[in-house]
Symmetry: C2
Subunit: 384 residues, 2 copies
Amino acid sequence: MPRCRQLFLDAGLSGRDMAKKDGRVIPEAQGVLAGAVYLCLLFAFIPLPFADAMLNNPVDFPHADFVLFITALLCVCCMLFLGFADDALNLRWLVKLVLPCVASLPLLMVYYVNRGWTRVVVPLPLRPLLGVESCELGPLYYAYMGMLAVFCTNAINIYAGVNGLESGQSLLIAGSLVVFNALEAGGEFAYWHRLSLHLLLPYVGVCAALYRFNRYPAQVFVGDTFCYFSGMLFAVAGILGHYSKTLLLFQLPQVANFALSMPQLFRLVPCPRHRLPRFDPAKDQLQPSTVEFCPARLSLLGRLCYLVASRILAPLRLVACKVELHDGEERASMTNLTLINAALVLFGPMHEAKLTRLLLALQIACTALAFAVRYPVARLFYGA
Amino acid sequence: MPRCRQLFLDAGLSGRDMAKKDGRVIPEAQGVLAGAVYLCLLFAFIPLPFADAMLNNPVDFPHADFVLFITALLCVCCMLFLGFADDALNLRWLVKLVLPCVASLPLLMVYYVNRGWTRVVVPLPLRPLLGVESCELGPLYYAYMGMLAVFCTNAINIYAGVNGLESGQSLLIAGSLVVFNALEAGGEFAYWHRLSLHLLLPYVGVCAALYRFNRYPAQVFVGDTFCYFSGMLFAVAGILGHYSKTLLLFQLPQVANFALSMPQLFRLVPCPRHRLPRFDPAKDQLQPSTVEFCPARLSLLGRLCYLVASRILAPLRLVACKVELHDGEERASMTNLTLINAALVLFGPMHEAKLTRLLLALQIACTALAFAVRYPVARLFYGA
């Protein structure tokens, strides 16, 4: 990465670190290096998971499993391509939603061709109500998988902007998934979890390398490429490993950040171009960034969101809201609706490195919670 | 493409058209749009070639064929990604050789896993000498396929630089391959040729669209992305269709250009940064570009190349060579060794549009020759 620094700067793939006193210029989109190394590694080791079948059982080669693996690589490669195109070309907002749909198409197609499961098990408490043990979702399940891909690819991208957060959270999620898959790799669905491990372990390696250079003080930015690449990899691993619900459990902070961000993402409440925390050079601290608007001029849904933010989230200290009269009109100044700003409101302004540590600690706590939910609590809902 | 013009200009992906009086700035790397559309098309139609098997014979689904198709997409997608990275980052020369190797890895791996043929038929005249009808090449065949991918991806890239030539030649090659595959699609190896058609037909579509904007006067440049993408697609179609030798027949001008360029590519003779023809604004014509060097200072191999160029190619009017005495030392001024310059030496300086037409006519003539060789002549060598 340090060797490629100049290459990226020359190509104009660079950005200013707004949370440093010198506003230093740092190469952007270095996640593409991690992605390219990841692809090369997986290409080189394509025969590995199938070595046994190739050597001992060539007639009965598991082509159906093999095609799933190749498709996983295709989706990841496609997302890397589209992510890098986004970094280089600054594509529009709408495209960011369409890209993961396109990239996940092969996965859905192959899932369909391979007659993958579209049946979900109904939780125990609901079974008497519905009168069935499992429910065939059909096309709805494909829609769910597509939406999962869109969510995962964007979830990391919108929970970003502090040195080391993108790579750190990805590393923690991948690590949790590795532990989960390792626990399950001896069980009933061993093949799926081993496939998932095969995809995730090299990722942990490249992601750790990226974290080393991305953590405070950042020498590189990871770019949209990395966020898309990571998200798609998680989605692919979750879908092919048949643990997409567990995957969401391991992404609790991302889900919370997405839920919190929704009013701004869907433009119900005004959304500035950047929602990063504001840098206070005098104290070398980050402060929550704010957005100003007139609540009375919002749409009905927007006013509802504002009401929830000011009456429920503000007392919980997840949002700070100030109202002033301006030419007889009420003007609100509200902190931007992200988990990062919520942490700064709750714990007060703090140094960037401390903020990243705090957010990564939250990720670890959520992982512990996820394991608690996945094993003991899931047994209550689904039985042994 | 015209709609994305500003996007590419803003991202700094643009270049000056050196063969125009106003030296206008034109968006570069627009081949990435063609490639992205191609990928989306193929993703959407993944189930199409397998619809019959899915509906009528789900138990005996041809997974082995299916994996070949997905792998073809993976290679093409990977090359698109790497090609675009090259356009955006201006990677070094060596990387241009390594990239196609990396991108073709999955193909070779899957070919291996699927136990593809590595046996070649020995031509009739050689059979009495070797005493065998066919010969098992084993790993050598994999090396050959890898080299084919490297050749194809670079062949178009080094036979470029005149408005419409990159997209025009690709369109003609793809068209020839489509005709060839259509002729063979009813024969013994129908599945392979149909797979190849399935890959090539959408390509003809996107390539025609690109040609429309790339022909003289060019509104867009195609970029390395497109050259790599096209080359890899041809290689993949040729390898999976098992007609890699025929593929080279359809690329005769590219092979000739590569052979002619070798002394400069391998730096035996000095190679300037650009070998494009020189533009003469007064006459609005292109003239062959030249390179100057002292023959006596070349390596032994370099002097041999110079000897061949000045004693054999110069009388054939494929190269123009002038020698002057400079401070008692011989200085040679030789036209750059490309097919484009050779055409300009042979037929004299001409307008850019006329040059493209001439070179594309040569491509068509070579295609006709290829069909003549493929069918009547091949029968002489391989029997019916």
